[in-house]
């Protein structure tokens, strides 16, 4: 997993609320047995018509947002299915950070497993950044994980909260499984205890 420290990039505004994982990556593309290659189908049904032509007014098809690395989105981004194909598709497109007022739990967790930073900010801050993002490629937003700030192109800065463990893993690109396996003696001990306490399991 790639580390995430700081990022300065173009932010695409997506003010729609409840952007669900079926929108982010429709089920048609869940049949892959790979993690890579989903970027071209990110937001597929919003991005292309039935013949596969780009829909020009969809934000990521506009020239100024084609290189976006950040999405500023409406409330409850990533609701719906547990499909990790959603962050895989975002990452494969080049998105490393999503900013919203709230995220669905499973999507939020999935982001951290893939080097994507989901940032939760209050509505005023998200609105401010949404307006900034609407300025297109001239407006570069800076996300600083270490200092937990998002800075708009005019220098206005917003602080955000993040779980310290998740921050640590993301900043260092750590593999969760490796970390948990360091605690294998605790897992062994739990299983032994469970055999007596819950013998039916």
């Amino acid at each position: 997993m790639d580390k995430f420290t700081t990022l300065t990039g173009i932010a695409a505004p997506m003010p729609l609320v409840n952007i669900d994982t079926d929108m982010i990556i429709p089920k048609l593309f869940l049949k892959t047995i790979q993690r890579s290659g989903l970027g071209k189908n990110l937001f597929d049904e919003m991005r292309y018509d039935r013949q596969g032509n780009e829909i020009p007014d969809f934000v990521l098809n506009k020239p100024q947002y084609r290189q976006a690395e950040i999405i500023v989105a409406g409330d409850n981004f990533g609701c719906g299915s547990s499909r990790e194909h959603a962050p895989w598709a975002l990452l494969d497109f080049g998105i490393r950070c999503v900013i919203s007022t709230s995220f669905a739990d499973i999507f939020y967790n999935n982001c951290f497993k893939n080097g994507i930073l989901p940032v939760v900010l209050p509505p005023e801050a998200v609105n401010y950044l949404m307006d900034d993002a609407a300025n297109g490629a001239n407006a570069r937003i800076t996300v600083d994980l270490e200092n937990q700030t998002v800075t708009a192109s005019d220098g206005k800065s917003f602080g955000f909260d993040i779980d310290p463990f998740k921050k640590h893993c993301l900043m260092n690109g750590l593999d969760d499984i490796g970390l948990s396996l360091e605690k294998v003696s605790s897992i062994d001990a739990y299983e032994e205890k469970q055999k007596t306490q819950f013998p039916w399991l």
Partner: protein
């Protein structure tokens, strides 16, 4: 004396393997359910790192999302990508020694129906699956939630998950439901009230007289859609209804093990005075048969209502509502019962159990599907299918003109060939009405099995309670 605990607190505490100073816990997972769509990359990750599955006996795999629901599926899956994905699960289950129900096995079905049916789901357990509707298993008083593929790999390798504890939320349904109102109406009505983000960061415990009165099938329907309310999981404290359902299932404990299990299971309730961070109360008597009109499960209205206008909402919902109205092809102010449908889907992990089929069959008995309407009935498992045939339900569906299919997820998410055509409108017993969910540009109205069956008969959204007068 220890502080009073919620049911969630009790299950959580019993599964903590390790706790860090910052509160992050390593939580032990008792049961891991696996299907073909969200697992191939996880197994590949294990192979790359040369890691085994830590507890293959606690891991159950079944293909469900991709499988066709036509009888000719025994000859193989035509769609190449779907076939490769199912074959990958065949191979992974074999290579890693996991319990497996292949397509050819009568016990095959939707993972969330197979788990409880086989007794793999028990009260007090932690249950996970790479599928958001894992919340279903909370009906047993099991802490059950969906996870992503990286977490699937984590559970396969360690039998644990790194977790921080969610908040406690209580959803109480008091009193009794009126005739014609079902578990699906409860769960949709709750989402209608809280919104799809209302449960974010919380584990919901459903309680109250109306919940207690539900069968296990109904409780599974309620918990199944906890995720649609944004909650991490939904829970219902186990009681005699639960124990009666579990007892005698193939993988339920037997003899002395049953007695030992019961001793613990009977302690699985929220203590008097335990703290909930959020409380929602609905009166059972106030719940009507409901349907969704838009493209979010929170777009819930009683069947007697009219299609809203975007201006009826505030904030970001105004734009979303307008987008929904355009997508759904609806005019504000029209009666919901005037919405004509092209298709009916009865099935899914929300409503694909025997009781759901009984409810639909009760409406369809002696009636015909309306002209021009296609009605698909997809049992949740091969065993549900067999039971429905034995009870004569299958014949009722066939006589009414419905398609009687093999078990799988089918048109709930339309990964297999069961899909809506663009702008086709479906009365569906599934769980999501998202854009494109049941097929590109397809239009979904969520409702109970009885309501879906009623719509099948009339060809438009219908209050099932008024059906007799209209058609007889």
């Amino acid at each position: 004396m220890t502080a009073p605990k919620t049911l969630y607190d009790k299950i959580w505490d019993a599964h903590v393997v390790d706790r860090s100073d910052d509160g992050t816990c390593l939580l032990y997972i008792d049961r891991h359910l696996v299907h073909e769509v969200t697992s191939p990359q996880a197994f590949e990750g294990l192979r790359m790192a040369n890691r085994p599955v830590r507890a293959p006996g606690k891991t159950i795999a079944v293909p469900d999302h991709n499988v066709p629901t036509t009888a000719d599926r025994v000859n193989g899956i035509e769609n190449e990508e779907s076939r490769i994905q199912v074959e990958a699960l065949d191979k992974n289950a074999k290579d890693f020694g996991i319990v497996y129900y292949p397509v050819s096995d009568i016990r095959q079905g939707i993972v969330h129906i197979v788990g409880p049916e086989q007794g793999w789901t028990l009260p007090g357990m932690t249950v996970v699956c790479g599928d958001s509707h894992t919340a279903t298993h909370g009906a047993f008083g099991a802490l059950a939630h969906g996870i992503g593929t990286s977490e699937v790999e984590h559970v396969l390798a360690t039998q644990t998950l790194i977790q921080t504890k969610s908040k406690n939320m209580k959803v109480e349904i008091t009193g009794k439901l009126k005739p014609g109102v079902t578990a699906k109406d409860i769960t949709l009505a709750v989402i209608g009230k809280t919104g799809t983000a209302g449960g974010t960061g919380h584990v919901i415990e459903y309680c109250g007289e109306a919940i207690r009165a539900l069968s296990m099938e109904g409780r599974m329907t309620v918990c199944n859609m906890a995720i649609e309310g944004g909650a991490r999981a939904g829970l219902i404290a186990p009681d005699e209804t639960t124990f009666d359902y579990v007892k005698g299932r193939p993988h339920a404990p037997k003899g002395a093990a049953w007695e030992a299990a019961m001793a613990w299971w009977k302690t699985l309730y929220t203590d008097e005075g335990a703290h909930f961070d959020k409380v929602i109360t609905l009166r059972g008597e106030d719940i009507e048969p409901v349907v969704t009109w838009g493209t979010s499960p929170e777009d819930v209205l009683p069947i007697s209502a009219k299609v809203p206008a975007a201006g009826d909402f505030t904030g970001g919902k105004v734009g979303a509502a307008q987008r929904s109205l355009d997508y759904m092809g609806l005019t504000p102010g029209m009666k919901l019962t005037d919405i004509k449908i092209d298709a009916v889907f009865i099935g899914s992990c929300t409503n694909g159990r025997i009781e759901d089929l009984r409810a639909a069959a009760a409406v369809l008995k002696g009636r015909k599907i309306a002209d021009g309407v296609r009605c698909m009935v997809v049992p949740g498992s091969g065993l549900v299918r067999a039971q429905a045939e034995e009870e004569g339900l299958a014949q009722i569906f066939i006589d009414a003109g419905a398609e009687w299919r093999m078990a799988g997820c089918s048109m709930c998410l339309a990964m297999n060939p069961d899909q809506l055509a663009p702008e086709e409108r479906c009365a569906s017993t599934s769980n999501r009405n998202f854009e494109g969910r049941q097929g590109y540009k397809g239009r979904t109205h969520l409702m109970s099995p009885a309501m879906a069956a009623a719509a099948a008969v009339t060809g438009h959204l219908t209050d099932v309670r008024e059906l007799s007068a209209e058609t007889v």
